[in-house]
Symmetry: C2
Subunit: 218 residues, 2 copies
């Protein structure tokens, strides 16, 4: 089954639904959920919930709702989260190191989190050979081989802005097709590569727009 042409707006909501279902499964409140309830918890209208899910199949029962466990497992499959993926991180600065710890803990604690940080890469010889959260740092020269050997399709970029584009191209050339980019740079890459930007500066600057005018100190 291939569902081409699902809009990104839809795909972005699927992990949100999944999270609601995970919470529900953990708390064991009810084995069933209506689009109404699911929408409320996800912050989305009920009609939109039904429409989003309907793109992928008929998961509910009229008059009843959706089975939490069933829908959960379907969503995991749709999101490819039913199998493990090796992920690498490039750029082991303080942010990179923090994310490595974060991802690793998550992987160990939550068995449904199937994204495995398999290796870290850095250009600095002083960092190569060290480990963070048990994950070794490799030199950039080994990037290509590592990606191919471990079938890495997903990568996190935490290198400085001026190295980001070059790093991304290397990753893509080696076979990576999904990138979570923390560098404040718009990456220019082939169409088939998916990029998620975690551009904190942009977010902070956007927030600043909404700040109220300076209150003069009384």
């Amino acid at each position: 089954m291939r569902w081409n042409k699902i809009s990104d707006a839809v795909v972005r909501r699927l992990p949100i639904y999944l999270r609601v279902l995970d919470d529900l499964a953990k708390s064991g409140e009810s084995p069933l959920i209506s689009s109404q309830e699911l929408g409320e918890r996800a912050g989305v209208g009920s009609a939109l919930v039904r429409k989003d899910l309907a793109w992928f199949g008929e998961f509910g029962k009229q008059g009843v709702g959706y089975e939490v466990e069933y829908l959960r497992s379907e969503l995991r499959q749709i999101l490819n989260l039913d199998r493990e993926h090796n992920v690498i991180l490039v750029g082991v600065g303080s942010l990179g190191a923090a994310l490595a710890r974060y991802a690793m803990r998550r992987y160990q604690v939550d068995e449904s989190f199937r994204l495995k940080l398999a290796g870290l890469f850095d250009q600095d010889p002083d960092k190569v050979g060290r480990t963070y959260a048990g994950i070794p740092v490799y030199p950039m020269a080994e990037l290509n081989d590592f990606i191919r050997k471990h079938n890495v399709r997903m990568a996190i970029i935490t290198v400085p802005a001026d190295a980001a584009q070059e790093t991304a191209v290397q990753l893509v050339n080696s076979g990576v097709s999904a990138i979570l980019n923390f560098a404040p740079v718009k990456l220019i890459l082939p169409e088939h590569v998916q990029v998620a930007n975690a551009d904190l500066t942009l977010e902070l600057q956007r927030l600043a727009y909404y700040l109220p005018p300076e209150k003069t100190r009384e």
Copy 2:
């Protein structure tokens, strides 16, 4: 001047335009830029660039384009980036500490970055009193006073998921109106509070959707 009702889609692009102009100013390529060129560099259509800017005034000259320096300064004003803002960060785990270093370095290196990390907060007594990148960690009990005293309107949340909602409410009650939230939780807050979610798990799960089917090892 108050421009109510500007859509968030528009506001999100302003910092992108600003970044392009900053780069241009630094490289000194040209004192003028057309909506065409600006759009290309920002990854946006030229008509949209003109429409976005037109919400706030007439910044260009027909037949000529936009003056880089002038438009830059206007955008900074619109985004409230022409004055300094005190920001606090709550939750000094490894991610929080990394972000603190990141923000502080940025503040020191780039004089046009006017967001100043004024304090860190943590519930753990062992962390209180320490400093990160020169910024002291305060106990949660001092949160309220600190926010009022330093006129803090913006905060970064890096506490664990189960503490995020509570933390956010405290911040808002003390006067914070813009939050960058790293906890994997949908915060429920009054309308007037702006929240930017940096939910890495959601981003990674979304990226997983686009991964190609597992290639069987040859």
